[in-house]
């Protein structure tokens, strides 16, 4: 691994985004608009917004980075730039870490913006605002890692986009956001225990309701971190220097 190559890769990914201001605009504006929408939707039931607001804030970057990464990585594969890169001295770790750094930075900006809006203007409350932003960034890296892995199974951009509902929607349905896990049928609860987003959601929910977080929170964080590392390792395996 090399610091120079990792930094150059992160810089390159950010430059690509800079040449695409519309995507950047969408990445930053869409979560804000959605948060305002949720706030307006539950105007007469402020407790619902309190319980949804923090988890949503932390889950937006997950969804966004999943899509952005799977498409960007697919482009690297189809344009031949990945094949070229893999004939150079770059280590796969440099490439993945560079990607992770760039998208973590975008996620940080995204989460900060939504936080300022939610906590400042929409009256959302939490005793752990910085913790929420930190978790949002961690979720972005998780989304990036899963997106990277998923991109290996897509041949076209159409397929890659379809992975969003396939990989992400079930996790959102089952993570506990819509129906508390305790109220789910046994098999659904068992299934949700296998999905990483369940732990990301649980950690966020604890940050929004608990004054002092307990050990369960740290178990959640450890699971999110562990799955991220595992997905990155699996993703690295899909970057083959030799192909058929």
């Amino acid at each position: 691994m090399s610091v120079r190559r990792t930094r150059a890769t992160a810089q390159r990914v950010l430059r690509q985004l800079r040449h695409d201001p519309r995507t950047v605009g969408l990445l930053l504006a869409v979560p804000c608009v959605l948060q305002v929408l949720v706030h307006a939707l539950f105007e007469n039931r402020p407790r619902v917004f309190q319980s949804l607001g923090v988890p949503l804030l932390g889950l937006f970057p997950f969804v966004a980075m999943f899509i952005v990464t799977s498409i960007t990585m697919l482009r690297e594969r189809t344009s031949g730039t990945l094949e070229r890169l893999l004939t150079t001295p770059i280590a796969r770790g440099d490439l993945l870490t560079g990607y992770a750094l760039a998208f973590a930075l975008v996620a940080a900006v995204q989460a900060t913006l939504v936080s300022v809006l939610s906590f400042g203007l929409l009256g959302l409350e939490s005793d752990h605002r910085l913790g929420v932003i930190a978790l949002a960034i961690a979720n972005a890296v998780l989304g990036m890692a899963l997106g990277l892995f998923a991109s290996a199974f897509a041949r076209t951009e159409f397929q890659a986009v379809q992975f969003m509902p396939a990989f992400v929607l079930p996790q959102i349905l089952l993570c506990g956001l819509l129906v508390p896990r305790e109220e789910m049928a046994g098999w659904l609860r068992a299934l949700s225990a296998l999905l990483p987003l369940t732990y990301a959601y649980d950690a966020l929910a604890r940050l929004s309701t608990e004054v002092k977080v307990g050990p369960r929170f740290w178990v959640d964080v450890a699971v999110v971190a562990g799955v991220t590392v595992a997905a990155l390792a699996l993703g690295a395996k899909t970057l083959r220097r030799r192909t058929p």
């Binding site: 120079r4 190559r5 930094r7 150059a8 890769t9 810089q11 390159r12 430059r15 690509q16 040449h19 695409d20 344009s79 031949g80 730039t81 094949e83 070229r84 890169l85 893999l86 004939t87 150079t88 001295p89 770059i90 220097r241 030799r242 192909t243 058929p244």
Partner: protein, 237 residues
């Protein structure tokens, strides 16, 4: 001395053998042309030399090391057939990135841009370049670190005759400086510009030698005729 030596190389793609026991030596410090019709296995052979291809048998040695060895990654440059650069970055940003990966000094960027004749276009986004300009940007990225072995897959396709001549002159200057070039082409009139030729057809080496030797051997006036004579001879056998 051979910079690349290939023995008994076999490659299977999609259940079909596309290279049949290829033996080949590429002389160091020369421009070697790999010629053959579309589908003859040129790209597959070049991918073997850079270590990007899974092979079914045989050996490929580059600079005395097995192809694809990590020590070779900074010593072998590769230009893929389709331009492999970032379409959403400018010329300079593309080269700055590949330069950083290869660890070259900043001054090299401007120098390389000049070799491929893209000076003045540094700030242009790659997606707005013409096909020929894009191909040259892709070539520039392979040239950046002045690798000892340059593997170029159809680098002059779609270029106007003046640019093609300029690029071939640049290739020979690089070879005079000690670089080994392996250049594929399906255009026979480019064969005359190579120091040595390898004719590939249906996954086998039909003939190799200098352009003069090949013409003499077949008693043909042009290399096109020489190629045809060699095909006929191979069919008769």
């Amino acid at each position: 001395m051979a910079a690349v030596s290939i023995t008994g190389l076999r490659v299977v793609r999609g259940g079909r053998e596309v290279l049949h026991a290829v033996d080949l030596e590429v002389e160091a410090g020369r421009v070697t042309g790999l010629l053959g019709p579309s589908g003859s296995g040129k790209t597959t052979l070049l991918r073997c030399v850079v270590g990007a291809q899974i092979v079914a048998g045989g050996s490929v040695d580059v600079l005395g090391l097995p192809a694809g060895a990590s020590e070779l990654r900074s010593r072998v440059g590769y230009q893929t057939q389709a331009p492999s650069v970032y379409a959403d970055l400018t010329v300079r940003e593309n080269l700055a990135y590949f330069g950083a990966i290869l660890g070259v000094a900043r001054g090299r960027l401007a120098e390389t841009v000049e070799i491929v004749g893209l000076d003045g276009l540094e700030r242009q986004v790659a997606s707005t370049l013409s096909g020929g300009e894009l191909a040259r940007l892709s070539l520039a990225a392979a040239l950046l670190n002045r690798p000892e072995v340059l593997v170029l897959d159809e680098p002059t396709v779609g270029l106007d005759p003046v640019l093609r001549r300029d690029l071939w002159e640049a290739f020979h200057r690089l070879a005079e400086g000690g670089t080994t070039l392996l250049v594929s082409s399906h255009v026979m009139d480019e064969a005359e510009r190579c120091d040595r030729l390898v004719l590939l057809r249906e996954g086998s080496v039909l003939a190799s030698g200098t352009p003069g030797e090949l013409r003499l051997e077949t008693d043909a006036g042009s290399l096109d005729d020489a190629f045809l004579a060699l095909v006929d001879r191979a069919v008769e056998l």
